[in-house]
């Protein structure tokens, strides 16, 4: 493996290194190597089993006595921790298949790699992890499992994703509520170009059911800083709605509108105890994962 830390490389560079599994593993290893404790841990304190120490694991759970006896570092795991069920919700709508520059990944490609890395982190902790990919309907459904083969199934499902059409986040979230009977973790990775009110209502519902919810808001940098020809008809990839503007004249107004939307998502999530991370596609995956970790830690 490359000696460099893939979690801190430019996402486009990471995407050029091997297959999705290779990229995800590289990112996760780099990410875990830079952490002082495991990013996700369970809710319970009832001991279940030992597992080998991994860099980044919280030293509070290191079995010091075992280490003294066998000179081997192990981490104590608790019952509920092994029962964490995580579901990754990935938006594959047409708007996700867009990149503002040739040297950047599309939002979907970025989201694929981010989801793969998250999945590997979760599965490495033996958390049951599943996947729902949706556009205007649920296209892929991989139930949450903690078994070893789940890793390959998850990566294979992510590798096969293709851009869809419109966005129907509500349907995907409703499906999650059916699938996650026990409390668990829901991670939504999307550009959030859909009805915020409806989506927030469903996310609130998940919160009421006791789930932890984490939202990755994926944007291309060109979506924050408007550019283009002196005058252009900007056409929506999903609805085909269009508007003619001169980017030079509208750059500031557009920027304000984008910031307002981001702010609205952020504050809505905060009000409802939902973790929110704004991620741009030029952001190294490790940084994005740390954002997510920070949000989840705050949520407890």
């Amino acid at each position: 493996m490359d000696a460099r830390r893939l979690d801190l490389l430019d996402p486009m560079e990471v995407a050029q290194l091997g297959d999705l599994e290779f990229q995800a593993r590289g990112v996760v290893e780099g990410f875990l190597a830079g952490s002082h404790r495991s990013p996700f841990r369970g809710f319970s304190v009832e001991f279940a089993e030992h597992r080998p120490y991994q860099p980044g694991d919280d030293l509070r759970y290191l079995d010091w006595k075992g280490y003294a006896r066998a000179d081997r570092a192990t981490i104590k795991q608790f019952e509920s921790e092994t029962n964490l069920r995580a579901m990754l919700l990935l938006d594959t709508s047409a708007s996700m298949a867009w990149s503002g520059a040739p040297h950047r990944l599309t939002k979907l490609a970025y989201a694929q790699r981010l989801a793969a890395a998250l999945g590997l982190v979760l599965l490495s902790q033996r958390d049951a992890t599943g996947l729902i990919a949706f556009d205007d309907a649920v296209r892929v459904l991989l139930p949450a499992r903690a078994r070893t083969r789940q890793r390959w199934a998850l990566l294979a499902a992510l590798s096969r994703l293709v851009p869809g059409h419109g966005t129907a986040a509500g349907q995907a979230l409703e499906r999650v509520t059916d699938l996650l009977r026990r409390r668990g973790l829901v991670v939504l990775i999307s550009d959030l170009l859909f009805d915020r009110t409806l989506a927030m209502r469903l996310l609130q519902y998940l919160r009421h059911r006791g789930h932890q919810v984490l939202v990755f808001h994926i944007m291309d940098p060109a979506e924050r800083d408007l550019g283009g020809p002196p005058e252009a008809r900007f056409e929506d990839l999903e609805s085909r709605r269009s508007v003619v503007v001169r980017p030079r004249e509208f750059r500031a107004a557009y920027g304000a509108a984008v910031e307002a939307a981001i702010g609205a998502w952020r504050s809505a999530c905060r009000r409802n105890g939902i973790g929110y991370a704004h991620v741009t596609t030029d952001m190294p995956f490790g940084v994005a994962l740390r954002h997510a970790l920070a949000r989840r830690t705050r949520l407890g």
Partner: protein, 594 residues
């Protein structure tokens, strides 16, 4: 008032349409750009498009204004701006029109008095730094100090002459241009339309118009018919102008000899009988507001019947005609004038001989006598024309070419000499018989024969008509022009300046009267219709103003200040550019800031 030093630059004003045209041409179909976050763009457009439209309109107006200002600046505009506390030095040319028409009476006062009063007001307002020029009826600009100008005005009277205001203004403009100060020509005149000749003037002209009489009758012309009377004759007079009928009379030496009633447009004849001699007569029209054109001088010369004889070679028609004229007292029996087809002593009226073979002999005799004219080959006929003789509708069928000489042509046919006079010999190109000309059978024959003998052959005097003050060439020099009040000596070349007053001057050599100079006012002074301002601008140029209400301050406005507006316009354009820059930068930077 604003004028432009480089008016051609104004053609570039079409460039002001540039921003608007660019705006229109830029309205092409924009390229389609796929973009996922259109909903944010729509939010921004809804909130800011109205403000953007206003700013774009403001930018369009600013850019158009910048172009307009730059083009106007390139045209070098200048404006006259008042200066507080008097006026800056100015060069003024006062054209005081004291021509004949200034003698008209309006409201009980002479027009000239009004003009002089206005001129004095201008002089009173002039400062010692101003330069003054006075132009009078002779049209010559003269530099004058203020006291000198006032003295000139004090002595000013209406003259019988005409002033060409167009020429006077151009002469004044010429001297002003070399004066170094801002200049203006002030025309104090009744502004007769007939007084303006066209020609562009390069300095501002202000015509301070005085009111003229609404109607005016005048005598356009008067002349004796025939030019030399034999006892009885007529004076033909043409009445011009406007108005009703008036009495017209012929005054000879203070005695009215004929009287008629005539209206403007009439041509009347006043008959009189006078003994032999020279008479300085006047045709008089009842007076109106302009008296100077109500009289016209005319010279009448009355001679006794000329003793004449006819040789058979002149033909039977000539012989019969002379007999009739003798019987009627128009001719006397005698040998002063002989009508013949051969040359001999004494005054001869020479007709071509019947036999063409005799032409050569006759021509040699003419040459021997010092006459340069001779009979040439026989040529075709035509219609005769003469200023002395009348032919009515008679025509010439045959004639000999009369050639060799240059002076003394009395009548022509087809533009070539037909009757000529050389000393005491009169050559006629055709025999006065029906197969040469139908004149002998026409009613005009006897008056023609009368004039040919009494005026062409027997008379050797001249009459020259002239306008007051005009330079004229008399037929002979070394004579004395006797008239009232002074006699005028004429140099040997015969060139003389006509007196400024109308009248008759008889040319006297020794004890003999050899001719007369008749001086009358120019008939173009009679029509008093003022020239419209538009016509004057068309004739003289755009910088001409006509008004009967002028303030003295306006007169000196020329020199008050002639400000070059170019710098101001450029400064304004720079300010506009700055504003445009700020607005454009705000559009690009902070459209959505609030």
């Amino acid at each position: 008032m604003i004028s432009f030093l480089q008016p051609l630059a104004l053609l570039a004003l079409v460039a002001a349409a540039g921003p608007a045209l660019l705006h229109l041409f830029q309205r092409r179909v924009p390229p389609v750009v796929p973009f996922p976050a259109v909903q944010y763009l729509q939010d921004a457009a809804e909130r800011h498009s109205r403000r953007l439209r206003l700013r774009n309109l403001l930018l369009l107006i600013l850019r158009t204004a910048i172009l307009l200002l730059l083009v106007l600046a390139a045209a070098r505009p200048v404006a006259r701006v008042p200066v507080a506390g008097g006026h800056a030095p100015v060069a003024l040319a006062l054209v005081v029109d004291h021509s004949l028409s200034s003698g008209a009476v309006v409201g009980g006062a002479l027009v000239l008095d009004t003009l002089v009063a206005r001129a004095r007001r201008i002089l009173n307002a002039a400062s010692t730094d101003d330069r003054l020029w006075i132009v009078l009826a002779d049209g010559v600009p003269r530099r004058a100090s203020r006291p000198e100008a006032e003295r000139v005005l004090a002595d000013l009277l209406p003259v019988a002459g005409r002033l060409d205001l167009g020429e006077a203004v151009r002469a004044a403009a010429h001297v002003l241009q070399g004066d170094g100060l801002p200049g203006r020509v002030i025309v104090l005149s009744d502004n007769q339309a007939t007084a303006w000749s066209p020609g562009v003037v390069s300095v501002p002209v202000l015509v301070w118009e005085a009111t003229a009489p609404a109607v005016n009758r005048g005598l356009d012309s008067a002349r004796a018919i025939p030019g030399i009377w034999t006892g009885r004759g007529r004076v033909q007079a043409a009445v011009g102008g406007t108005g009703g009928a008036a009495a017209i009379r012929l005054d000879v030496a203070g005695s009215v000899r004929a009287r008629l009633l005539a209206s403007p447009g009439d041509v009347v004849e006043l008959e009189a009988t006078l003994p032999a001699g020279w008479y300085a007569a006047k045709v008089l029209l009842d007076g109106d507001e302009l008296r100077a054109d109500d009289e016209r001088h005319v010279v009448i010369r009355v001679m006794p019947p000329t003793p004449a004889q006819v040789h058979a070679g002149a033909g039977p028609f000539v012989s019969a005609g002379v007999d009739v004229l003798r019987e009627s007292g128009r001719l006397a029996a005698g040998t002063q004038v002989t009508l013949h087809d051969q040359l001999g002593s004494g005054t001869r009226i020479l007709l071509p001989p019947t036999d063409p073979a005799l032409i050569g002999t006759l021509n040699r005799e003419l040459q021997a006598r010092g006459v340069r004219w001779r009979f040439g080959a026989e040529i075709g006929g035509g219609v005769p024309a003469s200023s002395v003789l009348a032919f009515d509708d008679a025509s010439v069928a045959r004639r000999h070419r009369i050639e060799g000489g240059e002076e003394g042509v009395v009548a022509t046919v087809g533009g070539t000499p037909w009757i000529v006079r050389a000393g005491d010999v009169v050559l006629v190109g055709s025999r006065l018989e029906p197969d040469w000309t139908d004149l002998p059978t026409a009613a005009a024959f006897l008056p023609f024969l009368d004039a040919l003998i009494n005026q062409v052959a027997a008379a050797d005097a001249w009459v020259v008509e002239a306008w007051p003050g005009a330079r004229v060439q008399l037929p002979e020099g070394g004579v004395r022009l006797a008239g009232d009040p002074n006699a005028i000596a004429v140099s040997g070349d015969g060139v003389v300046t006509a007196p400024a007053a109308a009248g008759v001057w008889l040319a006297v050599r020794g004890a003999d009267t050899v001719g007369a100079l008749v001086v009358n006012a120019d008939a173009r002074e009679s029509p008093l219709t003022p020239a419209p301002a538009r016509a004057l601008r068309a004739a003289l140029g755009p910088d001409v103003r006509v008004s009967d209400q002028v303030s003295v301050a306006e007169v000196f406005a020329t020199g008050v200040a002639r400000a070059d507006l170019t710098v101001w316009l450029l400064g304004l354009a720079l300010l506009m550019v700055t504003i445009e820059f700020v607005v454009a930068a705000r559009v690009g930077r902070s459209t959505g800031g609030s």
